[in-house]
């Protein structure tokens, strides 16, 4: 049973410029007892403000909003990357983020080596990865290229590899920044099927996207972010009726 809860969560990014990040300023601030406090204070960007979400099994949440509205920050906060500066974060279940499908891909390693490496990074044991490798290899359709270094791949081929590994195992909570579109027309078709099967096995899906049609198709709740705050929450009428309890506290 997967659960993902944010309660009144705020995320602030300190912006360290060339000056304020330096040791000199920190030492000066300490030595002067904070009298130059204003110069030493680090400017902060409020990326998320007072977000409350309660997600559980079966929830398919779409996140929309303009550039810089906080979509990616919200996903990373849900993944446990950013610790809220205020508020509470609770997670139950394994989380897998397809935020960066190329994570851990070493250009000088062969396709097979990269499968092994990425498998370990996803928290699989070596033997689990070995068991999955034939599947991944077949699905990627890269054939003999898997024995070659990834640096010799085209961009599309490298993406196919990353995608095939990243979607090889189901997870309780799936976080995606944009629906992954990879490869040529033929591969896109089967990639779609695969992605849908991973999504259907996940307890919770959070998908950030700019495409209203995609969100309408995949999600049953929509959160609209604006300047780091929840502007609107609505259920998608066309979607199957499940619990829709994303509550904005503003």
């Amino acid at each position: 049973m997967a659960r993902l809860t944010l309660e009144n969560v705020c995320v602030d990014f300190p912006i360290y410029g060339s000056g304020s990040k330096s040791l000199r300023h920190a030492l000066a601030a300490a030595a002067t007892g904070g009298r130059i406090g204003r110069a030493a204070r680090v400017p902060v960007v409020e990326a998320l403000r007072d977000i409350t979400l309660r997600l559980k099994d079966g929830d398919r949440v779409g996140v929309t909003g303009h550039n810089g509205a906080g979509k990616s920050t919200l996903l990373k906060t849900l993944a446990g990357v950013y610790v809220p500066s205020r508020g509470r974060y609770l997670r139950q279940g394994t989380v897998s983020s397809l935020i960066d499908p190329m994570l851990g891909i070493e250009p000088d390693g062969t396709g097979y080596e990269n499968i092994a490496l990425r498998g370990l990074l996803m928290g699989l044991s070596r033997s689990d990865t070995a068991r999955l490798t034939p599947d991944i290899a077949e699905f990627s359709g890269l054939g003999e290229y898997l024995d070659m270094p990834v640096r010799t791949y085209s961009t599309g081929m490298a993406m196919r590899l990353g995608f095939s590994i990243a979607t090889a195992v189901p997870t309780d909570i799936l976080l995606m920044d944009e629906w992954l579109a990879v490869g040529d027309a033929e591969f896109q078709g089967i990639a779609e099927d695969r992605l849908r099967s991973v999504v259907s096995k996940a307890g919770i899906l959070v998908l950030a996207s700019h495409s209203p049609t995609l969100i309408e198709r995949e999600c049953n709740d929509v959160i609209e972010l604006s300047h780091g705050e929840v502007k609107a929450v609505r259920g998608v009428p066309a979607a199957i009726v499940t619990v829709a309890d994303a509550i904005p506290v503003t």
Partner: protein, 293 residues
């Protein structure tokens, strides 16, 4: 070959398990909780030996993939340096070659081990930013990766000691056993220093530069090339640098001598200090680190 979508049917028993703990709460800032979760985080990374060892191994293998001799270059370049310096400095310092050469060999090998571990340690989290920004990884994974990579490199240097020891007739004595506690102390300290400097350097980018210049200076103040015995009495204080002591606990056992008890006491306090500082930073600053990368 046309791949089929059914290939995605992974066995249900295999699931991605990236999360550090099943229930994670943030926002509780009590010191006890921070220490407890910090320790849990450290341990969950530490026990994932497969991951950090593989990451370290690939770093070395992939770096040398396209060269013919591969990591053997590590051994060759170190060997050339020793061959060049050995005869020259033995003459300059007027010490018999078979006494000087093993001393110099181990001095340079262990100095390189410590100093590159420390310098790499400064960047360990900065260079892992891509990992840390896309999922929740225990920090200790990247500390161990750094240490494992440097140990593998150092092992490539260390093989040079065998011919040197044989040629110079270095005795094998029971004191060799001191190498074991020596290595434990060395690893604990390097681990702690990597945590401390890795976190501090992410926040203050100047510290990496400071560390590099201090180490450069320390190389000459540490008995890497010269013998501590040649110091006049009033200059003995310069041996109170942790690196001199850390080199001693590895070098002396291999040369058939026992490190002085003063060395062990000094390093005991140094280790405690190091672990306390690193533990504190790990527990209280670990979650903020991501905002500094």
């Amino acid at each position: 070959m046309i791949p089929s979508a059914t290939a995605s049917a992974a066995p249900q028993s295999i699931r991605a398990t990236l999360s550090v703990a099943d229930v994670v709460t943030a926002g509780d800032h009590s010191a006890a909780t921070a220490l407890r979760t910090g320790l849990a985080d450290w341990w969950s990374g530490t026990k994932n030996v497969e991951l950090w060892l593989t990451l370290a191994w690939y770093e070395i293998v992939l770096r040398y993939r396209r060269s013919m001799l591969g990591p053997l270059w590590l051994t060759i370049s170190m060997g050339l340096m020793l061959l060049g310096m050995g005869p020259l400095y033995a003459t300059l310092f007027n010490v018999p070659q078979n006494k000087f050469f093993p001393h110099l060999t181990l001095g340079i090998i262990f100095w390189t081990f410590y100093s590159t571990s420390i310098i790499d340690g400064c960047n360990t989290f900065i260079l892992s930013a891509r990992y840390l920004k896309s999922a929740e990884f225990p920090l200790s994974i990247f500390v161990w990766r750094n240490l494992a990579r440097n140990l593998i490199q150092s092992a490539h240097h260390f093989v040079l000691f065998f011919p040197v020891a044989w040629l110079c007739g270095v005795p094998v004595t029971p004191r060799l056993a001191f190498l074991i506690p020596g290595m434990v102390v060395a690893l604990i300290n390097l681990h702690a220093i990597t945590i401390t400097l890795g976190i501090l350097c992410a926040r203050f980018r100047d510290i990496g530069q400071i560390v590099a210049s201090v180490l450069q200076l320390l190389m000459f103040l540490t008995p890497v090339f010269w013998f501590p015995e040649s110091l006049p009495n009033r200059a003995h204080f310069i041996l109170y640098n942790p690196l001199a002591q850390l080199i001693d606990i590895l070098r002396l056992p291999l040369l058939g001598a026992a490190p002085a008890s003063g060395t062990w006491w000094f390093l005991l306090y140094f280790t405690i200090l190091n672990v306390v500082v690193a533990g504190g930073l790990y527990a209280f600053k670990r979650r903020q680190l991501i905002y500094w990368l």
